[in-house]
């Protein structure tokens, strides 16, 4: 990023930021307008500023139940995928074992599989298992995408931490779980999820 092309670089950056923010700005702008105003006139800023829309989505049962449902299933989904992905990512980054390359690739292909392909079978599977229309079902279904992604990101992350740190911990006397929580977790600080 040398300094010479400073102007050209900045111009492109500003243009892109405008491009990125325009749709979001328009949504925010409309969120403060009443329906009538939206349909009646076309204006860049809300003439009759109102919090009505936000009030409805936060009070109306049919709206906020949506939030709660999605929070629940996202919560379940994240908890399951992290707890399941962490040990697997550690195994992939620290050891080589029979078929490790193939399993990793298989996980990857699951992340790349179109949801449409599994639309029908999911419908059929979850109704037979009796979990239809429950949070668990949605959470489990999404595991198919989130777990492979979590394993992929965490594996990359863990490979950044030198293997000698594990060995030093074992030599010091840490057992695998103690090491994993105390040293590995904190030395990774942000075990962010994509």
């Amino acid at each position: 990023m040398n300094k010479t092309g400073f102007e050209k670089r900045n111009l492109f950056m500003v243009l892109y930021i405008v491009f990125a923010l325009l749709p979001v700005y328009w949504m925010v702008n409309m969120s403060f307008k009443t329906n009538e105003e939206i349909l009646a006139s076309f204006s860049l800023f809300p003439q009759h500023f109102t919090w009505a829309n936000y009030k409805t989505i936060l009070t109306d049962a049919s709206w906020y139940s949506g939030y709660i449902n999605s929070l629940i299933y996202v919560g379940i989904n994240t908890v399951i995928s992290i707890t399941v992905a962490l040990p697997a990512a550690y195994a992939f980054s620290r050891y080589s074992f029979l078929g490790d390359k193939h399993v990793f690739f298989w996980l990857l292909t699951n992340r790349m599989t179109p949801p449409a392909v599994f639309l029908l079978p999911f419908f059929q599977l979850y109704s037979t298992v009796g979990l239809m229309d429950t949070h668990i079902a949605v959470a489990l279904a999404h595991l198919l995408f989130n777990v492979p992604l979590a394993v992929w990101i965490l594996e990359g992350f863990m490979s950044g931490i030198p293997r000698e740190i594990d060995e030093t911990a074992y030599i010091d006397g840490y057992s695998f779980p103690a090491f994993f929580v105390k040293i590995f977790g904190s030395s990774g600080e942000s075990v962010g999820r994509f």
Binding site: E167, T168, Y170, I171, D172, G173, Y174, S175, I183
Partner: protein, 357 residues
Amino acid sequence: MHLTLEGIDKMVGSQTWLYPMSLQPCSGAVTVLLGATQAGKTSLMRIMAGLDVPSHGAVQVNGHSVVGVPVRKRNVAMVYQQFINYPSFTVRDNIASPLKLGGEKNVVQRVNALAEKLHIEMFLDRYPAELSGGQQQRVALARALAKGAPLMLLDEPLVNLDYKLREELRDELSALFAEGNSTVIYATTEPGEALLLGGYTAVLDQGELLQYGPTAEVFHKPQSLRVARAFSDPPMNLLAADAVASGVQLEGGPLLAVHLPETASRKLTVGVRASALHVTAQEGDVVLPGKVELAEISGSDTFVHVATLVGEVVAQLTGVHYFELGAQVTLYLNPAQAYVFDDQGLLLLAPVRGGGR
């Protein structure tokens, strides 16, 4: 603590990292693993620590086998080349971690005492990432010493440090090793470091254990050409020669009047250490006139590369000496200072200790 390695070797895929070898490092003393990079020092050390398992052979501690025993239960301590510390722990917690796990009582005093001994008491509440390379390695050393393990392994701990810092830390290390009574295994590529640390030296070359013995003895009486070559810095001058009635005739050069054992092969190799060549004559010396190729000054010594009739040789002179490139210079060698190896590279003659100038 008696560590015994019986006929161990290490194969990884098609490569052989360690050829079959047996080694009993002298308990309570410092054993230096000396060898060039890729000589197998780290692999041997990882087998001793229990981090890796040998392909064959037995590893015993005080008589009973420890192969496959997880390193957690082996009570060893290890210091790596690239200052490994827990990044998320303060220096204090880093040093205290083996003590806490070992259920020690007076952890705080032990940590402070160790920090003082390694001059890092002012950094106890800082994080390793904030310290310089030398200080980080001191933290790793303090943690290894905190464990007080009967077996302590150091894998080229000083190689990433400044030249002068290396000298300082080496003196401190030999003092620390002398104080403790654990068996210390110290890997290095520098012969000088092995000599300064004393104790015992095991010379490794391309995965083979060539010789093990007291450091001075291995230096002065290398069993083979490979040991002599591995254990000399700058490289030992090796000159082709033939066995003749009255001694050893250097090809294209003077005759060394030395007494050869009858079994000596006709084709010989004469090894001359750089320090055995002088610019001042002594009686009985052999003369080697030549032209200066290069003069390298290393502070306390000057290494002169001279093209002579027997080939290019390196002489080590004490202090600082100036030589013009291409200037004529005459080197003198006391025949008693030369090593003689037979055509298999085995030692026939070694200089008599204390006979040099």
